[in-house]
Amino acid sequence: MTTATVTHHGKRVVRALGTGAPVYVLLAVLLAALAFTDPGFYEPDRFLSFVKRAAPLVILAAGQYLVIVCGEFDLSVGAIVTAGVVVAAELYGSFPGAPWLLVTALLLVAGGVAGLVSGLITTALRVPSFITTLGMMLILEGAVFFWTGGSPQGALPTAFRQLGRGAAFGWLPWAVIVCLVVGAAAVLLMRSDFGRTLVATGDSERAAALAGVRVARARIIAFVLSGAAAAIAAVLVGGFSGVSAQAGRGYEFEAITAVVLGGVVLGGGRGSVVAAMAGAFSLQALFTLLNLQGVSGALESTVQGCIVIAAVGLGAADWSRLRRRRTNPSGGQAS
């Protein structure tokens, strides 16, 4: 645990240790298993292509972390990814010559707006975010396919797909760079005052409010950032694999699973963004391992379910004594 747990306060280091440690062990085990299964796995281009594949999930996990750590949920990220890919294809269907930077920027803004709406409904109307984002998921998927008549009408041009598919200098995938940038931004964000505000909001809203934190604003910003992160993921996914009407299917659960694997507690207030992203890498490593091992396609999900439960369970069990010693303001884990 020499890794940068992004905290200064001793208490929070303990907390981060308590919630984050198992994921690094899990990741190390999985990476070792990958090396064992496939000796060529750590050749630079192979490893980079692994990171490239993991990038969308890592970015989604970073976004999801921001929402979860302040005590909310974002179930709409999968729908935002699907909608993003379909909307991009639709835009290119109507304006084939559109510059990729503009389309990407538009998607980012649109993702942010979707997050803004979720955030406003959640904070101003006091609708639980599980419901808000579930509704948002239905609305986005429905609206986008209603608009396109069921399937996207255009194709994504090479320039737009470069970010998800191409490589800088011929060897470094753009997706890896994007992933690093987003990861670094997330770490910096969590180190800033805003990051502390966010964690405080999730830890105890009341205490945060009394200390002068504008909790509603913090939450709304978290939702906006999660939406924007989902839009970035959409650009990468669309770039990586092209137009698909189900590009983001299941991503919401994968992202939440990744964050929880990282030891972040649903309900907020605990966990580090680095661990959340490590959780995403672990999940992707697990997928890759299952694929390389040649586990029957049918049993893959069973193994995945077992490992997720076991990992989270072990994480909770190992450190439960530590946690119980605190006068736990959030009751227990059986949320």
Partner: protein, 338 residues
């Protein structure tokens, strides 16, 4: 979304508290909403020259409420205790398969017992993972869902088994205009209502969902309560699987998942005024929520609405309904708490 009480899926908010006098009880609200949707549907369909309030439609609405109703009633029980079950969809699929296969080889009674035993076992597993391993319910039941999925995909290559005609009566017969299966739903709902409202266990469920910490301090065996709630939920899901098997005449690996019973049931529960955080709400509201969704579906059917547009409307309705329930409590925001 008030939650001054801790230990919930959704975190506490500052300075919010239940008012003593609730402006608009959600249960009343959701049944009013069902009525309103029916009336609106009737007007709109009539304006198009159709007839909404026919026996055929009424039967279809009731019939379509049964499967979701059974699941949602079970889901209410877990949500009341502050937990959640995302594994219901795959459990339904597996339940129909087990039911149909057992009926094909053994008898109907054996099949019913087998399905309920399977359900109870899955519920027990969910409950133990949530309470014993302290895995958050969201992740725990998602994990169980994946395990069940793998199990189904590895063992079944499509619809399997055969349900004898004698058992299909459950899915197709009617007493007058009322489908037999509606009585099943009524019986299950009544049983769960009785359990939650009239027994000590029920009080413990509300207490655990309301404030687990406080409940534990006052001597409630919260973990046991959560485990039992999960078993109740899974048993209801088992009943839904049996009903679907009767209706489908065979087991289908996608019976539960294509209909998205996991998220739909949660939506129905929340639509019925049960707080996702636990401790508030109940079966009566849930049934209203199911009815609203079924009536909406029927109206969409009559008007031949684009299926994608349906989702948009459903999303808006769900958010709007919950926003309305939250309104009185929003008004109470900022009142000093004790």
């Amino acid at each position: 979304m008030t939650a001054t009480e801790p230990g919930r899926l959704v975190p506490p908010r500052a300075g919010v508290r239940l008012r003593r006098i609730r402006l608009g009880d959600p249960v009343v609200g959701v049944w009013l909403a069902a009525l309103t949707v029916t009336l609106l549907g009737w007007i709109v369909v009539a304006a198009r020259g159709g007839d909404f309030l026919t026996t055929t439609n009424a039967v279809a609405i009731l019939q379509n409420s049964v499967a979701l109703g059974l699941v949602a009633v079970g889901q209410s029980a877990v949500i009341l205790t502050g937990s959640l079950d995302l594994s219901v969809a795959y459990l339904i699929s597996l339940g129909t398969l087990v039911a149909a296969e057992t009926m094909a080889s053994g008898g109907v009674v054996t099949a019913v017992i087998a399905v309920l035993a399977l359900s109870a076992a899955v519920g027990l597993a969910n409950g133990l993972i949530v309470t014993g391993l302290k895995v958050n319910a969201f992740i725990a039941t998602l994990g169980t869902a994946f395990i069940l999925r793998g199990w189904i995909e590895d063992n079944y290559t499509g619809p399997a088994g055969k349900v004898p005609a004698s058992f299909q009566h459950l899915g197709y017969d009617r007493v007058g205009p009322v489908p037999v299966s509606v009585f099943l739903l009524a019986a299950v709902a009544a049983a769960v209502w009785f359990l939650t409202r009239r027994t000590r266990l029920g009080h413990h469920m509300y207490a655990t969902g309301g404030d687990e910490h406080a409940a534990r301090l006052s001597g409630v065996r919260t973990r046991r309560t959560v485990v039992i709630a999960h078993i109740i939920c899974s048993l209801c899901v088992g009943a839904a699987a049996l009903f679907l098997a009767a209706r489908l005449g065979a087991g289908a690996p996608w019976a539960g998942t294509e209909a998205r019973y996991d998220l739909e049931s949660i939506a129905a529960v929340v639509l019925g005024g049960t707080a996702l955080a636990g401790g508030r709400g109940g079966v009566a509201g849930t049934l209203g929520g199911v009815l609203v969704l079924a009536v909406l579906d029927s109206v969409f059917n009559q008007l031949a609405v684009d299926p994608f547009f349906k989702n948009v409307v459903r999303g808006v309705v769900i958010i709007a309904a919950v926003a309305v329930y939250a309104r009185p409590r929003r008004a109470a925001k900022g009142r000093p708490t004790a």
